[in-house]
């Protein structure tokens, strides 16, 4: 114990930055991610793998759209809504985009208040984020209903290339599933935060380490990723 006490009192050595820092971090016998907990590192690695999944969907959509000889339906017209007797292009998708960005903003602030140990504000902002997410899923359900009523199916649609339906349902469906899981995850963690599980070290999932509000940031990483994927879907599927 005397030895460990000695180690405890020592200041950790300054770490190299830049390219030297990468080599030093990866080549040591310890762990590559020095100041990142396993939970955060694993969430990042999961998000990386999820990136490849969504990329495969978007790439298959690109391949289908580039190789079809039938004209692709114009998303600007397909997703237009009639408001006040006027066709406004893509308006529903624009509103969904703003809602998801707002939810990302509230999530970022929740992470900030979490690290300040303001558990009421953290939980409140997380519930707001979850509410935005639920609204987004609701609007997506409305969009799906509208398109299915108009005759869009995975194997065909009234306006052009048959692959439009399959690409649309696959990409937005998978993204909507991610949002739904995120909402559930957010509500579960927000409830723990509000109850003070992270202050008292109450036993349970994610709460074993006392004084750690890091799980709020990890939840936030997932949530921001969902928003990030939507940025790409919005640009490549709806606007292109």
């Amino acid at each position: 114990m005397a030895e460990t006490a000695l180690i405890n009192n020592l200041e950790p050595p300054a770490r190299a930055g830049g390219l030297q820092g990468i080599v030093a971090d990866w080549s040591s016998d310890q762990r590559a991610f020095k100041n990142v907990s396993w939970g955060k590192a694993m969430m990042w690695i999961f998000l990386l793998s999820d990136t490849f999944i969504f990329s495969c969907f978007l790439l298959s959509y690109m391949t289908a759209r580039m190789s079809t000889t039938v004209p692709w339906p114009n998303p600007s017209e397909v997703f237009a809504l009639r408001i006040g007797g006027r066709e406004i292009p893509l308006i529903l998708i624009a509103i969904m985009t703003f809602i998801l960005i707002s939810s990302s903003g509230t999530m970022a602030m929740a992470v900030n208040f979490g690290y300040r140990r303001d558990r009421v504000k953290t939980a409140a902002l997380m519930f707001v984020t979850a509410a935005f997410g639920a609204t987004f899923v609701g609007m997506q359900a409305f969009e799906w209903t509208k398109l299915i009523m108009e005759g869009v199916r995975p194997w065909g649609n009234p306006w052009g290339a048959a692959q439009f339906g399959s690409s649309f349902f696959m990409i937005t469906g998978f993204h909507g599933t991610h949002v739904t899981i995120g909402v559930i995850f957010l509500i579960a963690i927000a409830r723990k935060v509000l109850r003070g599980d992270f202050d008292v070290g109450r036993r349970g999932f994610f709460t074993s380490r006392k004084g750690h509000y890091e799980i709020v940031e990890i939840t936030g990483l997932y949530w921001h990723f969902v928003d990030l994927v939507w940025v790409f879907i919005f640009a490549l599927f709806y606007l292109w």
Binding site: T4, I7, N8, P12, G17, L19, G21, I22, D25, W26, Q30, A32, F33, K34, N35, V36, S37, W44, I45, L47, L48, F52, S55, L59, M62, T63, A64, M66, S67, T68, T69, P89, T97, F98, I101, S104, G105, M107, A108, M109, N112, Y115, R116, G201, K210, G211, H212, Y213, E214, E217, G220, L221, H224, D227, L228, V231, F234, A235, Y238, L239
Partner: protein, 133 residues
């Protein structure tokens, strides 16, 4: 956290001295991830502006290369803001940033391969569908 070598001992310590450990780790975190709320509000505002811009591209019906380059520009800017500030990648050590951000760039090769592939498929379809009619 301070150093990995300390970690097992730190856990032992926490058994005896809960308060000390919690305060110590809390301080370490506050140091790493404390940013003023204003920063998030500014980024939020920029994301709104950029989203509005990309929506206006469609609203005004811009076409051709101008449309595609604008869409890609706004997309990359938004993605960069989210990853750098909201996901705190700008403040992580480079070892993590490179481990996460470099692999997706390989996707550009995949995109290039599939562009050639779909061009070829399109050509074949044009030839054979033209013959069929």
């Amino acid at each position: 956290m301070t150093n990995i070598a300390v970690h097992p001992e730190a856990q032992q310590h926490s058994l005896q001295d809960h308060g000390h450990h919690a305060v110590a780790s809390g301080a370490a975190h506050a140091e790493g991830q404390q940013h003023p709320i204003k920063l998030y509000l500014v980024v939020w505002g920029w994301l709104f502006v950029l989203s509005t811009c990309s929506y206006l591209v469609d609203y005004f019906g811009l076409q051709g290369h101008l449309r595609w380059s604008l869409i890609l520009l706004f997309m990359v800017l938004k993605a960069g803001l989210i990853v750098a500030v909201f996901m705190h990648m700008a403040w992580e050590r480079l070892a993590l940033a490179y481990a996460i951000l470099l692999p997706p760039t390989v996707l550009l090769v995949f995109v290039a391969i599939m562009v050639f592939e779909s061009d070829y498929t399109h050509l074949l379809r044009m030839i054979f569908f033209a013959q069929a009619t």
